[in-house]
């Protein structure tokens, strides 16, 4: 330990430890404080909660709001919608739970100062679509962060959490987490009675379309580095639906959102010849997925599928017809402010390329795949459901607790609950926060304890990449090429290439098969070995190293899940060429995995999909 003895270790005691200060984490902190007035609630965040997470640059809509006060929708309607969009497979118990609570979160947002657009005739929130309401959300995150900061006992910014810590006495029980301060290099040991993982999903595990400077303009934030998955996977928590990656149809290059354009501005898409194309592919899609194509609204993946087929037939690109709508100055303003409120980069692209949608119908593209749990997809941890109605095999104690005792999750972390978005993630954080307080109350004096050997060993592991660099750097004159270490960007680019070519990225038009997936796993194993030789020049590169390691572990999980599910459930998201059709007989189920860190083995199993709503 001589090499590391100069690094300070800082111990932080807590009752509830919230990892990640995005929407899930802010909701978790708020609710933990409400129910646990005397508890120590700690938020740890790798950036600054004022502008961290997926909502850092703002949002122009809240995509999950029932409107129960006006009888617009009921929670069960939202479950039907999400189930339909995900081709039948969602945790209906978890989805219903978010939907029944979400309106109270949104009403608090308004009370806190979030500017809501109102329908001038009814005075109700301005609907963009059936589930979406429109906001002026430039400061959506700073407002929510203010509430979270007031709720938390302490907020630690700029600390990257690398590992969870397990209890010294009881097996399969969490006791805290470790990480490092990216500014000071201090090592942090957090002891906790309950841990809520509310970290981000995964961008940059598949090769992005832009590979130069523009690689930063991913659809999901480049700082969403899969910690949502890697942290629970490392300690053996079961994961679900990790194969259910998402591909987004968005405006070309900037990945600017299309929701407001379709729903509010009533723009529509056409092929390069100005023709409607979705009906062309109706029979083709039906031959793959049966009557799922007849459902309304048409599932997101199937709309992607029609685009991919049309482009492959030589009639691309698909374009958004904006010229008509943008003649209305109000709609033009909404169209631009929609970008400026949440994807400024798209406004930059259009300004730079002289694209004024009043005069030009802009191009759309399909993005590289992402793995996350809060949009039109539902990868994440397998979690216990609500006490009052979850089916028995979905319930093992506390709401939103994973299969590890005391380990809770929210937002991207929790699987099976698509379409929660910002408001639903915050709400899920609240659900987890209350459950964590209940768990702590029930613990009594049976408190978990961190293991000194474990956190001391991890200290060496966490800072090893800086040692690798220091030693290896002396061998070479300069530059980025070393025989003994790889830089984090090298490892990231290899990861993205493996995933792209073998696991169904843009390079194969989202196609993969058993041989390719096994080959991908072989390469991922070699990459895992090489990740022991990453060289980090400074603390910033150390952060990039641990982001890469988290992305890698999530990618291995994605690949195992994709291999296990022998069907093509979501054409338009990815295709198993060797099992090209949807197969409800064998695969109307969830896929579950458990990673054993000791043996390195992945156990796969099926879990039933219980339909509790008509």
């Amino acid at each position: 330990m001589g090499l590391f003895s100069s690094r300070k270790t800082i111990f932080v005691d807590s009752d509830v430890l919230v990892i990640g200060g995005g929407f899930g984490g802010c909701g978790a902190a708020y609710e933990s404080r409400y129910w646990g007035r005397d508890l120590k609630v700690v938020i740890v965040e790798k950036a600054n909660i004022e502008r961290s997470g997926a909502v850092a640059q703002g949002l122009y809509a809240i995509n999950c709001y029932m409107g129960m006060q006006w009888d617009e929708n009921q929670p069960e309607d939202h479950v039907r919608y999400a189930r339909n969009d995900l081709m039948g497979l969602v945790r209906e118990d978890l989805g219903y739970d978010i939907a029944r609570h979400v309106d109270s979160s949104v009403h608090k947002f308004e009370e806190w100062g979030l500017p809501m657009m109102k329908d001038p005739e009814t005075g109700r929130y301005q609907r963009e679509g059936k589930w979406q309401i429109m906001i002026h959300g430039e400061s959506y995150k700073p407002i929510i962060a203010e509430a979270a900061r007031k709720a938390a006992t302490e907020t630690y910014n700029r600390i990257m959490v690398t590992h969870l810590l397990m209890d010294k006495k009881k097996k399969n029980r969490v006791a805290g987490a470790v990480g490092f301060n990216v500014r000071t290099g201090d090592y942090y040991v957090f002891q906790a009675k309950a841990v809520i993982v509310a970290a981000g999903g995964a961008s940059h595990i598949f090769k992005p379309r832009a590979v130069g400077e523009g690689m930063g303009r991913t659809w999901y934030a480049p700082w969403s580095s899969a910690s949502a998955y890697a942290l629970p996977i490392q300690v053996g928590a079961k994961m679900t639906q990790m194969e259910n990656r998402i591909v987004l149809t968005r405006f070309k290059d900037g990945y600017g959102p299309v929701g407001a354009y379709f729903l509010h501005l009533k723009t529509y898409t056409e092929n390069v010849n100005g023709e409607e194309y979705e009906s062309t592919w109706y029979e083709d899609t039906k031959s793959l997925v049966g009557d799922y194509i007849d459902r309304h609204p048409v599932p997101t993946c199937l709309r992607n599928h029609a685009i991919l087929r049309e482009v492959a037939a030589g009639r691309g690109p698909i374009r958004m017809v904006t010229k008509e709508a943008f003649k209305d100055p109000h709609k033009e303003t909404v169209g631009w402010e929609n970008f400026l409120g949440m994807t400024i980069g798209q406004a930059v692209v259009w300004a730079s390329q002289n694209i004024d949608p009043k005069e030009i119908n802009p191009e759309l593209t399909t993005s590289e795949p992402y793995v996350m749990g809060s949009h039109a997809t539902c990868s994440g941890a397998w979690a216990s459901g609500p006490e009052d109605y979850a089916p028995d095999d979905y319930q093992w104690g506390y709401n939103r607790m994973m299969t590890v005792d005391g380990l809770f999750g929210a937002g991207d972390t929790i699987g099976g609950t698509a379409h929660k978005f910002s408001s639903g993630s915050f709400t899920e954080g609240r659900i987890a926060g209350k459950a964590a307080v209940k768990y702590i109350n029930d613990l009594g004096r049976d408190e978990p304890e961190v293991d000194e050997t474990e956190y001391e060993n991890l200290k060496a592991v966490v800072f090893q990449p800086m040692e690798n660099y220091k030693i290896g750097r002396n061998e070479i004159v300069g530059g980025t090429v070393s025989p003994s270490y790889l830089l984090p960007i090298h490892g990231l680019q290899r990861l993205e290439k493996i995933m792209d070519e073998y696991v169904g990225g843009i390079g194969t038009t989202y196609m993969t098969n058993e041989w390719g997936l096994n080959k991908g796993l072989e390469h991922l194993t070699m990459l895992e070995e090489d990740l022991e030789h990453i060289g980090a020049e400074d603390l910033h590169q150390l952060q990039r190293t641990w982001e890469l390691k988290h992305r890698h572990l999530a990618s291995v999980s994605v690949t195992h899940h994709t291999l296990f599910r022998k069907e093509t459930r979501w054409p338009g998201y990815y295709y198993r060429g060797d099992h090209p059709k949807l197969d409800d007989k064998d695969w109307h189920c969830f896929t579950l995995s458990r990673y054993d860190a000791q043996s390195g083995e992945w156990e796969m199993e099926k879990a039933p999909v219980h339909h509790i709503i008509d």
Binding site: E31, Y34, W35, R37, A47, N48, E50, R51, A56, Q57, M68, Q74, P75, R100, H101, D103, S104, H107, K108, W112, G113, P115, E138, I143, E146, A147, K150, R158, A210, V211, G212, E213, G214, G216, R217, A221, W223, D253, T333, W336, E337, L340, G341, I344, G345, V348, A351, S352, D356, E387, D388, Y389, R430, K434, V437, K438, H540, P608, V609, D614
Partner: protein, 156 residues
């Protein structure tokens, strides 16, 4: 770059370093001013641009696909509660937009501990903080309505 910093305007205050979600705004050790150290991890989220008291940070669109000559400038005024945008196209056309950002004073949100302490028993109920009042309906919905067609329940 995507974000870059004008040498003559930056005074090295570090607000951008403090706010950047991607940890790419750093202080250059020689010039003691901010610099984007990793442009390919910039999301063009404008958090640093909005936070800069000197208006020293701007964005030049990603070199892969954004031709030069454009600009998207922003002024965020917390006291006024507005954000103002000015877009300039490569061909010189301009567009301006102003939106509200907040309807209440900054710092005015009540801590959850400022509300009445809930009962211990309520911890076992399904209601979250402020429910059912904050739902604006009489009661939190209980379990989902019973299934009419039990056949759909699948045991796989």
């Amino acid at each position: 770059m995507p974000t870059f910093v004008y040498m003559t305007r930056c005074d090295g205050c570090g607000h951008c370093v403090d706010i950047c979600p991607s940890d790419i705004m750093h202080i250059d050790p020689v010039y003691r001013r901010a610099v984007n150290i990793e442009p390919n991890f910039c999301w063009e989220c404008y958090s640093c641009v909005k936070a800069c008291p000197q208006h020293a940070i701007d964005v030049r669109g990603y070199a892969d696909f954004a031709p030069l000559g454009h600009s998207v400038r922003v002024l965020r005024e917390e006291e006024k509660g507005t954000i103002s945008w000015k877009l300039k196209f490569r061909d010189g056309r301009e567009k301006e937009f102003v939106s509200p950002i907040r309807t209440t004073p900054w710092g005015s949100i009540k801590s959850p501990s400022d509300y009445e302490v809930p009962s211990i028993e309520a911890l076992n109920d399904q209601e979250l903080a402020h429910e059912p009042e904050a739902l604006n309906i009489a009661a939190l919905p209980g379990p989902p309505p019973p299934m009419k067609n039990k056949k759909r329940k699948k045991k796989s």
